[in-house]
């Protein structure tokens, strides 16, 4: 019962994370894998503010969303101002830096993490588990809907154009940087939301839960499901949450399962990357008209971007 519930809750939370990360990576083409840190910021802000200032849990979760949003702006503003490349490392540095700070502060529970977090619902009642599952599912649906709304319609057109060809996009007078910062902020805020929901159900958080290796998990969900598709991340999240659980009932020797899961999923990504780059739900990529142009001495960026044409 509780087992099933916690699986469902994790699925819901990871749908939120994957969907919002997809907005950042898949739609906006922003190279950040620091998504877990905003998840973490949400979780920490929410649980600590409730703990110290005795505000209602809901308020705590909202606060978590705001903090995650603000931090994302603080990160993307300087980094994107210069070049997309800087966001890659800035985000990683930010992720590890913040985790390091959390580890070293006493009032964050330090490296040991936060125990005794106030649950959102009374933790004894069995029904509360169900209502939590329901809540998380609603939240997940809402996130997916939000992403869908953003990437369709006028704003969506701009996003698509930016992703297709950023230079051509800018040359038309579109401010790509602002758009990216906004999208990064929204995505991160969603992650913060998920963080709050996580903290007030599992009632324990520690810095190690938000480190680089988590980033890979979310990345896998997005890539396998299908980058830049609405439902792709949902499929990815469900798939990658359910599979290991199923696997765990096969009763394989433990020494194998740990790494093999990792191998399975990273391997999955690599396969998809080369054989089905658009993921499970992805459609064939639009053929690029763009081909090497001889006269165009300067068509290559002055500072290296990830992967030249």
């Amino acid at each position: 019962m509780e087992y099933a519930a916690s699986i469902f809750i994790l699925i819901g939370l990871f749908v939120i994370l994957a969907a919002s990360f997809n907005l950042i990576l898949g739609y906006s083409g922003l190279m950040s894998i620091a998504h877990p840190i905003f998840f973490g910021l949400g979780a920490y802000t929410s649980s600590l503010s409730v703990m110290y200032f005795h505000i209602p849990v809901i308020a705590g979760i909202l606060l978590g969303i705001i903090v995650a949003f603000l931090f994302s702006i603080a990160l993307s503003l300087p980094a994107l101002r210069i070049s997309g490349d800087y966001l890659v490392i800035a985000s990683m540095g930010f992720q590890l830096g913040v985790l390091q700070i959390i580890r070293n502060l006493d009032w964050t529970g330090g490296a040991g993490g936060v125990t005794g977090i106030t649950p959102l619902f009374d933790e004894i009642a069995r029904t509360s588990v169900l209502s939590y599952v329901a809540l998380v599912f609603v939240a997940a649906a809402a996130t997916v809907a939000l992403v869908a709304w953003i990437v369709t319609g006028d704003y969506g057109k701009a996003i698509a154009a930016m992703r297709d060809d950023e230079d051509a996009f800018k040359a038309l007078g579109r401010n790509a940087v602002t758009m990216k910062i906004v999208l990064f902020g929204i995505g991160s805020a969603c992650a913060g939301f998920a963080g709050g929901l996580y903290a007030h159900y599992f009632l324990f958080i520690s810095p190690d839960q938000f480190d680089l290796l988590y980033s890979a998990g979310i990345l896998t969900m997005v890539v396998v499901g299908g980058m830049g598709t609405i439902m792709g991340p949902v499929v990815g999240a469900v798939l990658l949450q359910v599979m290991p659980q199923a696997l765990s009932f096969l009763r394989l020797p433990a020494a194998i399962t740990g790494p093999t899961q990792g191998i399975m999923f990273t391997g999955l990504v690599l396969i998809f990357l080369f054989l089905k780059p658009n993921g499970v739900l992805g459609k064939a990529p639009p053929r690029k008209t763009d081909d090497g142009d001889d006269d165009d001495l300067a068509s290559v960026n002055t500072s290296p971007v990830v992967g030249k044409r």
């Binding site: 087992y3 040991g112 005794g116 324990f204 520690s206 433990a254 740990g258």
Partner: protein, 389 residues
């Protein structure tokens, strides 16, 4: 025992839970008369804590075999359901949730501070008894009604080290260097406070990162304090490196350390540089106890080595006997096996006589008092210094 370095995660947030029902017991001679007693064992079987976790599980399994072979807990065979925690909180949470709600166990044993703390809410929420068999964080004693430990918290051994350094080594100026994680910080603080209380003074109090590769700055700050003794509180994996770098940077004074220093590889890797190390362990060694001697023998025979962090494996081994006692107690009272009845039994018995760790007494404040065994290193060999109450 410590929350150790971060390790490879499976790529998922509710990561690998591996359940291995230990086949032999299901098919043992007296399966007929009484229903077996199933309980959870949540220890790291993968990740870098695996070298310790797997040895602990092996030790526990041996104990279970002995017990079941000798007729079990008055006719009930013990059936441990072993799940992997990777020594990571979130993996532990998933594993224990599974134990509690799928396998419906009334109690489980686990170790590693972060995991013990992370799963405590589940134990309390479901009224299931959580027995920590290897965690030294101060929080362990304050995790709730259903969380108990058979393993002494750091203050027991580290306080003694401070005392030994002050009285036996006659040190007045000490320095502390520790790994920057929960148990490292806590252990270091215990030593600092204990040593100051005795009237000594702490020249330097420096940490290093478990994921770091270069401890130069911290080590030299310790050297600059020019201490008469250094307390090193690390994890089994980084203690050799830390000690090595200290010796290579000219810190030649005696170094006291927690049980993490009781590790054959340490000697093998830094050789004579390990001389002057003083390790506090919380379990008797082969010299003090014939049972332990036999235990070590079996390791040598079957694994050609002594277990990683042996004292810990002794506690995990003996946890099977604690469970045996609890089961018998509950059976005697003719009660069903629930977290509550087992907890009552635990508090009723309180003092357990155990094969490898001798007397373990559960205190009201959820802690355990134990004598401490000091082990020294001379000419790149461990030798017993003595037993301290």
């Amino acid at each position: 025992m410590t929350t150790r370095r971060k390790f490879l995660k499976t790529m998922l947030a509710a990561p690998a839970i591996t359940s291995a029902h230990w086949a032999p017991f299901n098919s043992s001679a007296f399966a007929a008369d009484k229903e077996a007693f199933s309980y959870g064992v949540a220890l790291p079987l993968t990740g870098a804590a695996a070298p310790f976790g797997t040895d602990q599980v092996k030790a526990h399994t041996w104990a279970v075999e002995e017990i079941n072979g000798a007729g079990g807990a008055n006719g009930r065979k013990l059936n441990p359901i072993v799940l992997d925690t990777q020594a990571k909180p979130e993996v532990g949470v998933a594993a224990v949730t599974r134990l509690v709600s799928v396998d419906k166990v009334p109690m489980f044993v686990t170790a590693f501070s972060a995991v013990v703390a992370a799963v405590a809410p589940i134990a309390n929420r479901n009224k299931v008894l959580e027995l920590s068999v290897g965690a030294n964080s101060p929080r362990i004693s304050k995790l709730g009604e259903y969380v108990y430990t058979t393993y002494p918290l750091a203050d027991v051994d580290v306080t003694l080290l401070a005392k030994y350094a002050y009285e036996k080594l006659g040190a007045r100026r000490a320095a502390v260097i520790f790994v920057n994680d929960e148990s490292g910080i806590y252990g270091a603080e215990v030593f600092r406070d204990a040593f100051k209380k005795l009237g000594g003074d702490i020249g330097a109090f420096e940490s290093y990162e478990a994921t770091g590769t270069d401890y130069t700055g911290s080590v030299l700050k310790v050297r600059a304090a020019n201490p008469q003794v250094v307390h090193l509180h690390g994890n089994a994996s980084d203690t050799p490196i830390a000690l090595g770098q200290m010796r290579q940077l000219g810190i030649s004074v005696p170094v006291t350390t927690n049980t993490a220093g009781y590790n054959p590889e340490l000697i093998q890797k830094i050789g004579k540089a390990a001389d002057g190390l003083i390790v506090a362990t919380l379990a008797p060694g082969p010299k003090e106890s014939a049972a332990v001697a036999k235990y070590v023998e079996r390791w040598q025979r079957e694994e050609k080595r002594i277990p990683n962090n042996m004292p810990n494996t002794q506690y995990v081994h003996d946890s099977a006997y604690v469970i045996k006692a609890l089961v018998e107690e509950v059976d005697r009272a003719g009660k069903p096996f629930t977290g509550d009845t087992l907890r009552e039994a635990l508090l009723k018995i309180r003092s357990f006589k155990l094969p490898l760790t001798e007397t373990v007494k559960i205190e009201d404040d959820h802690t355990v008092k134990k004598p401490v065994y000091l082990i020294g290193v001379k000419d790149a060999k461990y030798y017993e210094i003595g037993l301290y109450e």
